[in-house]
Symmetry: D2
């Protein structure tokens, strides 16, 4: 039985880890870290866990954690994991970092987009970008996994086969993404109050959102060249779900069959990627609560563009589910262990 | 492995059965009945089941079903199950009826409140009212289980120990209930359109809702006497969840300790009933997606009333989850089998 | 043209005053008070007022306000108005207080339920409870109007004619109320975040909500005797609206005709009260954005109870609209001036 | 006083016309057409109009209407207006058609995208496309006004100054639009049920939505050349509002100042267009219930694209409000008459 510790277990991503690991046959949470709620019963903060979790919240003591657990999940704001990690800790325990600290290989890019200095640049090279469908083999060997961002997971996987196979012109890629509000976290901010979010849709972080360089870097590896994209996130009045609508110009001569073949080549055997070739748009409701990525696409002969659509649950495949998927890889378990619940609707 | 057939598998309760049984280690659905979608792929109707369920929808052939399966779930409008059941069918297969056909023991009451004539009154006596926490032993012996209504499950369990122990005056009982919109079903009606339900709350079926006699009958057994109640359902702009706020006058001399002891006596060992004695109101979000019933209460010395509150997920404990719980009892499985997922939040 | 000042203009009630007064032909806001946003453009806080309101937010300087305006609206937390009012101020300006400071005539009741000491008990006697339909004539003569609470406005008006005419037993009155989330205000609290409120319903303040004594006092005047009620508010995932479902036992011999006649006697000529005698439940969506109170009722012969239902927009008739209605009375304007917009649906 | 008749008064757009005209000082509805509800009281269908509108619904008798009213609004499905209009009718009465029948100048394009044959092509040339900000002078002289679509109004106005002034390359224009659910109408369809729309976002009509050629035609006039665009609508779980996020490549040498100047040139004096130059994204909540179009934009030097954002209330500026604005122009009234209510928030 894998012993897991969570730093930041009372945020939405942390709480989703608690929910998923409660159903995992080979892992259990033994450390519920939460600076804000130290010594309070976890189930008093998240009443869904009443009579399920009996533990109290604990401080973020990385050294004690390294002794007590096999894997640490850091579901914390940017900068915290980088400030706590050390060679000694990594020698004792695996870390899956749900923050952005180790996602970008170029520390200068990190410091520019996040506006903070990186406290542990020496581990950036070693860290593996934990997008399992792409970096599966590297994750298996890793000590430190950088769990991808929610928007990035959805955005990258939706376009990856076409970029990798050179079927689209990557410099034309425009990603218009829409997210449920749990992606904004559980901080008490006026902007996230019910009455401010409900009955509204807006863009935010236009041309400046931090997931942009992460998408560019990973798709750049696939393309074998660097390029810039337009990425615009939007806030939707719903709890969960990300939809990415992606536009790109098809390269000359590319057919529907070639597009379908590329998707099948990369995803036909992926347990969590479901590609539909029937032009029916994906919807976030069909993946809610699950680790699935749903993908479909439409080719528009009038503009010679392809419109790709991807949907995930931002808290599962976009955060906690992918973290568990990475944990499964790190410990040699079946990759789908504990992640096979069908989506819940309605 | 128990083979299950569902009549009405494309309604919300039927679809929830599909979701729950997909996670059940000892049962599998082999017949997806749906008159409206015969020969269509089930996963085309419910895309959450894409690449999970490969079957096509089938007609409601009770005789063929009785040969093919071990248990039939009828998740259909009132009257259908009563029109299809027969001694021959019951000799071959167990039936869990999610409709109201066999819930009321007095056929005249049924016909008055539902406005239809009962097609199989000869099975009413035999049918067991499948509120597992109360009728567990009878269910184990049954052939035909009347799965309780959503409002009734929540309303009855919230008040049951106090009625049974005579701590409240049952004739003062007023139940003000609130339900998510999935309780209204998947029929295409103007009243259930998004724009009609969203940003609104209303009562409906005031002093005339069909779950009223069901609550009165079951609580009447507990009280050992007949009485009438006020029951008012409300429609809430959310997908899932029922909250019952119940008011009753305490009998003379009843203390908080006596109330707490009564709840503990009946529910302390119940796996799906979670009683909180700390006066903190229950919330539907804390049971979403799960089979739990959450209960709490406040005693008001100013009015000498107790305000009891109960919360369930109307599609799980209020329909499909309780049906699976009944199935587990019918087949000698652990009662919680396949039903241990924690509630999902947010 | 009446010059109006608002203290607390950036809360939801204050902002609704700004919206309503912008459409009022005889009044204009000349002072946008907001401690939190001093010197910021009002339209930067509420972008709906972009290019409509050009003013900046100002401090809460009561003395300066008294010189600058004809009427002050205090849309602030409890205690502030009581701490600022004085004989000198009241000699210069009318005050409509949207807080609870002057609603209760018994200062001990106020201090017990609100947990703060009253800073100006000497004005309690003079203050007029501004429920226009009941205290119209007194309001016209007032200097200081205590604008009623949102729940209380809805709860009182729904039951008033029957209490006043002695048709129900007031000691049996149970009010189960449901409110949209704007009633919780614009403070940055975790409990009011979108993801915490959405897809949920819960009771709160059970047997302890501060609007209870206000309802008891006002209905007590109508009954000519004191009594206690049960009042339970609930939080609904919608922006606006309050629904009160009220239960009471009819006195012996009371008929439907007597109930209808009582409602007509008090409300047939009221411009903002719409009573329906057809048993169709009222809905909050039908009053959204307007100053209307919609009322309907069902008599249940089985229990001899009447179920009364009332619906308002909590920000309009429950706060800002009623405040404008009171202003109209204070200044001798037609009572409906500026308040005749039909409800907005959907 | 202008006498108005509405064909289709019980759809959402028709009902919004009723609401707006109820507040219009120079117009009144004298004919509430509704095939579905003939002889039923209008206020029984839309209870917000209880005690405000006393009329009953009437049939769609165009000849009788032409005698009885000064202006007819057709808020009906495509094809109806074209099948009813005639020279005789147009000689007696003005028509504002809220359907698509007279929006496209090329009947072949209409028949291809809408899949129906046009019944009155002889009036296409005469009809004026009623986007008031662009065709104001022509509307004043018209008999037959084609009221623009909701998506098109928002999409065109957001990009118009930059296309007209040649600051962007129109062939790169990609419009990713998001709409509230009232845009889907009041038809009883499973897809529009609360539980199907709530907690979900999806694209629909990808590369095939009928508003596409309308946008292309109108922006083509502005550009002085024909081009194709990508247009993708999405369904958002909210009642009202359209947000258009529009991407285009800036032409060489175009600066922020040039963009700002172009917007100011066309919109600085427009009463209903509010442009913000501060890069703050527009939001649908800030225009709800009003006739405003809010526009802002961000220039991204990394990609040399501009991201333009526009927000409207789909039922007001996107339908009924613009229809009233057109009526005002047709009858020589101030263009803002009856349309000056500020947006309602929350």
């Amino acid at each position: 039985m894998i012993k897991a510790g969570i730093i930041g277990s009372t945020g939405y991503a942390g709480a989703e880890l608690v929910r998923l690991l409660a159903q995992h046959p080979e892992a259990q949470v033994v450390w519920y870290g939460s600076r804000s709620y130290i010594d309070r019963k976890y189930a008093d903060v998240y009443r869904n866990m009443f009579q399920i979790v009996d533990a109290v919240c604990m401080d973020d003591d990385m050294d004690a954690l390294a002794e007590a657990v096999d894997v640490i999940f850091t579901a914390t704001p940017q900068g915290l994991c980088a400030s706590l990690v050390s060679e000694e800790i990594l020698s004792k325990v695996k870390i899956v970092d749900l923050s952005a600290d180790f996602r970008l290989k170029d520390v200068a890019v990190y410091e520019k987009w996040y506006g903070i200095s990186h406290k542990s640049p020496q581990f950036i090279e070693e860290a593996v970008y934990g997008l399992c469908e792409i970096n599966r083999e590297q994750v298996k060997q890793a000590r430190l996994v950088a769990n991808p961002g929610c928007y990035t997971t959805c955005s990258i996987l939706t376009a990856y086969p076409l970029v990798k196979e050179g079927l689209i012109d990557p410099s034309t890629l425009i990603i218009d993404a829409k997210s449920g509000t749990s992606g904004a976290g559980r901080g008490a901010k006026v902007n996230n109050l019910f009455c401010e979010v409900n009955e509204n849709i807006k863009a935010y972080g236009v041309a400046s959102h931090r997931h942009t360089p992460e998408i560019e870097e990973q798709l750049g590896y696939a393309a074998g060249e660097q390029f810039t994209i337009s990425f615009t996130p939007h806030l939707v009045p719903m709890n969960r779900g990300i939809l990415a609508t992606e536009y790109a110009s098809l390269k000359a001569g590319v057919t529907k069959e070639m597009v379908a073949a590329a998707y099948d080549q990369y995803y036909a055997n992926e347990p969590f990627v479901r590609v539909s070739h029937d032009s029916q748009p994906v919807e976030t409701r069909w993946v809610e609560g699950s680790n699935y990525v749903d993908i479909s696409y439409v080719i528009d002969p009038r503009t010679n563009r392809i419109i790709m659509m991807g949907a995930i649950d931002n808290l599962v495949k976009g955060a906690a589910g992918q973290a568990v998927q990475n944990m499964n890889l790190l410990f040699g378990l079946p990759e789908t262990e504990g992640l096979t619940q069908p989506p819940m609707f309605p």
